[in-house]
Structures are given as C-alpha cells and as structure tokens.
Amino acid sequence: MSSHAHAHMPTAAEATLDKGHVLRKLPVPLAVLGVAGIALAFVTAGDDHTQFWFSYLTAYMFWLSAGLGALFFVLIHHGTRAGWSALVRRVAENWMITLPLLFLLGLPIVLGGLESLYTPWVNPKPDDIMVVEKQAWLNPTSFLIAFLICGGLWTAFSLYLYRGSRKQDASGDPAIADRLRWWAPLGYVTFGLTITVAAVNFMMSLDPHWYSTIFGVYYFGGTFMFFMAILSLSMMGIQRAGLLKEHVTAEHYQDIGKLAFAFVVFWSYIAFSQFMLIWYANIPEETLWFAHRAEGGWEWVTLLLALLHFAVPFFFLMSRHIKRRKTTMALGAILLVVAHLIDMFWIIQPTMTQHVTGHSHFGLALSDLLAVVGIGGLVCAVFFWRLGAAPVVVLNEPRMDESVGFENY
C-alpha cells in the first residue's frame, strides 16, 4: 500500500463543505439547542440554583477541555515543527476557536455562581482558619481577575493562531508559519500557567481545605486525552461528509490514537501519584478529599472512573489494529469522552452535598445532562460554524507534503 505514490495535496475546492451541506446547517439548531439546554437546566434544577451551578460547572470544565486541548495541540504542532498533523490541524483550530466563547461561558460562573459553588470560601466561617488564611487568593475579586487574565489569554492566543492560519491559507507567505512557530513556546508557558490557575480556582477550591500540587497537571492530562478523542471523532465525521476521504488515512488515526493512549496512561500516572501519596502519608486534611469520594454512593463512581479512564482504554487502545480501524477507534474515542465527563463529575459534584451536610451523597440531576447538552450545543455551534466558513484543511502549509501520504514505520 504505497499511498504516497497516489496522494496529492488537498485543494481548497475539495476541502470545503458545499453551500447546502447538512453540516453547514448545524450551527443555528445547535445554538438553539444550547440555549434551550442551559435554560432548561436552570429551570429544572430547583429554586436555590445550587444544583444548576454544579451542573453548569461540570459541563463547563468538560467542554473547556475541548478548547484548551485544541489550543495545546496547535501550539505543539507549531513548536515542534510537526509534519504528520498538518492535515488535521484545521479541525483542531476549529475546536481551538471555541475558546473566546468558552471565555464568555465562564463569566456567569464568576459573576453569579460563586456563592452557590464556593460557599466555604465566599462566606468563610471566622473560625475556619485554613480558609481565612488563603483569603488573599480565594475571594471573588481575585477570582474574577484571575479568570479575566486566563480567559483573555486563551482568547488572544486562539484568535492569533487561527487568524495566522487563515492568512496562510490565502497568501502562503512563509513568514506567517515562521511567526506562528515563534509564538508557540510562549504559548506553552501561558497555557501551562493558565490551565493550572483554572484547575485550582474552578475545581480544587470547591473544597478549600484540600490542596494538591499536582492538580493542574491532573486536569491537563484528562484535557488532552479528551481532545485527542474528539479530534479523531470529528475527523471521522468530516470524512463521512465526503471530505479528505483519501487524505486522512489509518496512519493519521493511528497517530491520534497513540497520543490518546499516551494520555490515558499519563492521566492514570498522575491520578495514581496523587492518590497513592495522599493515601500513604495519611494526613487528615488531604485524605478527606478522597474519603468524600468513597462514601454515599460515590465509591462506585470512583471505581467506574478507574475502570473507564484507565483499565479499559489502556488495554483497548494498546493494539495498533484498534487504532487503525475507524469503527474500533471511534468506540475507543467515545469511551474516552465518557471517561472525561465522569472525571469532571467526580471531581466537582461530591462537594455539593458536602457543603451542606459535611458528607457526600451521590445524586444525578436532570440538569447535569441538560447542562452538558447546553454548553456542548453552543461550543459545537461555533465549531461547525467555523468548519463551514473555511476549508477543513490548512492550505499552503509548508509541511503538508509530510502529512499527505504519511506512513507509520
């Protein structure tokens, strides 16, 4: 199978969705679905809105991973001068460009949800010394400033990288590729610091007594794994729609699958390190976080997480045959999407009852589902809008020849 002999560079015409294509009609219904989903989640979640905000935050952190994972993928592509990924970069860029929207979608949490989500530090008990001590960081103003900085940087980087790539489509000026590569390393630094702040503020501070230095890395591990899963799923969708059918091959899916597999292992490594070290030292203020995830029905979610986020995908995605066949790779990717959602749910939701009763009780609300659909609808609306607005592949990309006809060996 010497595909390199036959493949040619994709042209703008064959990589653009037709005007009447069904995928181009998706943005509006998806946006409607999104708004409806969030509205319904708000209505069904009860009058004190606490459940709504927990559902919203879970869905938000889940979908934020799509934008942040894509940002990291694009940065890595430029920074490492990658060749194989040129064909899939535009799709990653379309996920990345959801970050400005995700910035906006985070604002309601910061402006309206703090009271419900972060009661222990928004209204700290004066005798709760461990919370009073960290008020310089954990207070609504600092929280807002931190989020504005993070969200602003995500927006700036995603817009810059996206616009640069579109300009390259038009002119093919090598100076553009050069400038994008120049910015990539600064992007890593920005990405590393902002994702840490986001993870610490949005998720770790739900239980302000608890702390773990690895927590930012933990969220990053799951984020990138999740993004590789949706990248492969969206490439399959685009090929089904008739585009890039000859260009994106089993070789590319295998590489995406390898990265997904690597990050299954990386997440597991980080999760295990965090758990094992805390379990071993057995210091009450640290172990409590895990104790709350081993009571009130949550112990089953914990087990499920270990199974679906590690054990099953580890063995499933190991084989190259699985990664190279679309049906099996799609199954694996869907599994990882579910696993990441469970992970977010598992981190965020046990604190809800814990804030009230001091213990965790497992519960699943309708608003949990509706919020995932709602925020997902809006994020996907932007994704499909950008997908229809430009070729689904980058043009005039200097490394495209390495990606077309690329082979694993």
Partner: protein, 478 residues
Amino acid sequence: MAMVKDALDPVHGRAPLILGNPSYKDITEAVARPIELSNYRGWWVGFLVSASLLGVLLVSIGYLFWEGTGIWGVNNPVGWGWAIVNFVFWVGIGHAGTLISAVLFLFRQRWRTSINRFAEAMTIFAVICALIFPGIHVGRVWVVYYMFPVPNQMDMWPNFMSPLLWDVFAVSTYFTVSLLFWYVGLIPDFATMRDRSVSKVRKLVYAIFALGWRGSMRAWVNYERAYALLAAIATPLVLSVHSVVSFDFAVSFLPGWHTTIFPPYFVAGAIFSGFAMVLTLAIPARKIFKLEHIINEKHLENMAKVILLTGSLVGYAYAMEFFVAWYSGNPYEQFTFINRATGSFGWAYWIMVTCNVITPQFFWFKKLRRNVTVLFILSIFVNIGMWFERFVITMSLSADNLPSSWDYFKPTFWDISTLVGSFGLFFTLFFLFLRWIPMVAISEVKGVLPQANPHSHHGSVSGEDAYVDSAKEVLAHG
C-alpha cells in the same frame, strides 16, 4: 524577515541531519576511526585520571566498610546525607539516555540517531554509579542482601510497603532494560567492527558480541521489531524509575517532602539533568573525535530546547510547591519553604534556583542555543544545580518537626571523596566506551541519510521500491 532563511530551521522541508552529504562508507569510517586509531595518548591521559579517581572511590568505600557510616557527616536529624543525594543525582543523569532512545524513537525524532548510543552508554554508567550508594550506605554491608526479598530460614522479609524496596525493583529493572536496549542497538555495529577488524583477537571478541549478525533482510526485520518493542517497554521506565525515587521522599509526612507533584517533577528534573550531562560529554567528544558533522549544531540546539522545556517544568514545580505551601495554610509547610530559601541552607537553595531555573532561560535565545561554548558552560551549571536540588530536598531533615533536634549538616572528607570518586567510576567506564564501542549508532545514522530514503532520487527508484515493498511483505506476514 531574516528568520525565514534560517538554514537549520527552514519553513519548508527539513535541514539535513548529517552535514557534508557523507556516503555510508564515510559514516562507518568516521565512527570507527576513534576505535581503530593507533595513537591513544590523549585517551590514556583521560583514562588514567579517571581511573585514579575511581581509586579514590574504592579507598573511600573500603574505609567506609572498615569504619562504618560514622565517617560521613550524617547526624541525628540528617540521617540521609550525601549518599541519597548522589544516588538520586546519578539515577537522574541516566534518564536522558532512555528518553532519547525510547521516547524520541516512538515520536519518530530522527535526530536522535546521532546521540542515542552516546546517551544510552551514559545511562548505563550513571545507573551503575547510582547503584553503589544504596549498596554501601546500609552500615552492615554483610547483610546487604536483605534489600532483596530472598527467601531465608529466618523468614525475614523486607517491608514491601517501603518505597526503598520499590527502588530496588525499579532501578534494577531500569538497568536491565537499558542494558538490553543498548545491546540490541549495538549488534549491527559490533558486526561492522568485526568485519573491519585486522587483529584476530579483536575480530573474535566483536564476533562474539555480534551474535553472528549477517545483515540479512529477515534479521533486520526481526531486529527492527525487537527494537520497537524494547522502546515501548523502556518508555514507561522513563517515568516510573524517577517517580519511585521521588516516592522515597514523598510518601513521608515531612513538610517539603510530602507533595503530590514530586513524581512528575522528579522525572522532569531527571531528564533536565540528563540532557545537560549529554551536552557536557558530547560537546568535547564530537570535537576531539571529529564527529561534528554527525553531532552537529542542530542536535545540540534540540537538546538545549529539551533542557529549556524540562528546566521550565522544574521551575513550575518549585513555584507550585511554594504556592501550595502558602495555600495549604499549614504553618509547618510554610516554615519549611521559607526556611529553605532563607534558613541555614539558603545558600544551597539559591545555587539551585540560579542553576536550574535561571540558567536554562538563556536558551530562549537562538544565538545562545547555537553557541557551543555557551551550551557547554550552561550545561555544567545545570549539572551542579541538579545535584544541589537533591541536596536541598534532603536537607529538609536538618529542620524537622522536632526543633530540639535541629542540626546543621557538614560533609566530611569522606563524603567529598566518595562523590568525586563516583565521577571517577563514571568517566572510567566512559573512556572505555569511547575506545571499544562505536560511540554513534552507525547503522541508525545511515538510516537517516537522504540516500536511505528510496524516494530521494525520483525516477530511478523502482528497484529500491520493490525492495521496500518486499520488506513490508515480510513485516506483514512474518
């Protein structure tokens, strides 16, 4: 823009990995030359100096066995002195080799072929140096076999919950796999050396190690498969070994030791120090042995980038530790970190920060990354900084939870002689390596030359294409 015309980092295409467009034969000649040279004066000087330092190590260990660990500066709170510092330092040095040989192989980073042999050798020698320290620090060396779960009539077992025992497993596995990986990579090159040998003894020795390699296609197919499998097995070891080493500290509840970021932070630090050591060794070696076209500026620059990345990760870990020490609201945590920076070992802390966090930042600048002298000097700073990092961590013991027992740690003559001597062991092995084993993977470097790609000359490739296709046939059907 001037940057667009950067020959080493072109926008279109790739810079050649090996300069001067050499033929296959040129590569073999260049790499075999140091081994077949008849004038060894420079080599003898280096070897004898290293061997003398190795003597210092042996004397230090001999005296240690005679007199006991009291000859070291260890005292009551600081029960772990330089022995653990040196152990972690040397294990860390080894990590670059495994990363280059295994992880970069899986990532298809073809530039690794110029430096992997070199770095893997360094890995093995560094792990040998590291393994000495747990072996000698036990006090009662005659029962050192207790470190292993050896069945015995007293039914005495090591504590399986102890990370020190996990270390025994982790490091010995690491050593075994690294050695196997290195050896498998060496087989075709040993065969080359065998075929070039003029003396009978030399031919026999290389022939034994070459395992009858004839370079047939089937042999190559099996070889490539074994190599890929070993790479896949070695990759988790890059993470696991130093994670387990970090557990030695992190499972405790000592402030400054017990922190969840330790495993990835130690791994990043290990790769950081390992790459610095590769630079420290490769820069003089490539000049002395005239291999500057094979290990060229691009390779050095790539290593500098890895150093910048891992150094920044280490900086991230330092920052997270400080932030969370404050954020935890735990006064003991807070004290430990403030004490690290301002206490009696503050001098060591600032050496560490300067060498590990500030030094790599110079590598943001392309001019400095491509300046060989700058690279060499900065790599030594990193080596020093990473030794001090382990020293600073270990010295958390000097101000533990019981203020009445606080004490300062002062190294003795024997602490210093053991550390210096371990460098002697490392360099003795390294000089032997330079003299007897091809220091660049000949067959792998040939594989990244343009003429190894059957599609490099368009039009006249049908024969080679058929060759590649038949090789794939063999791969698919065994």
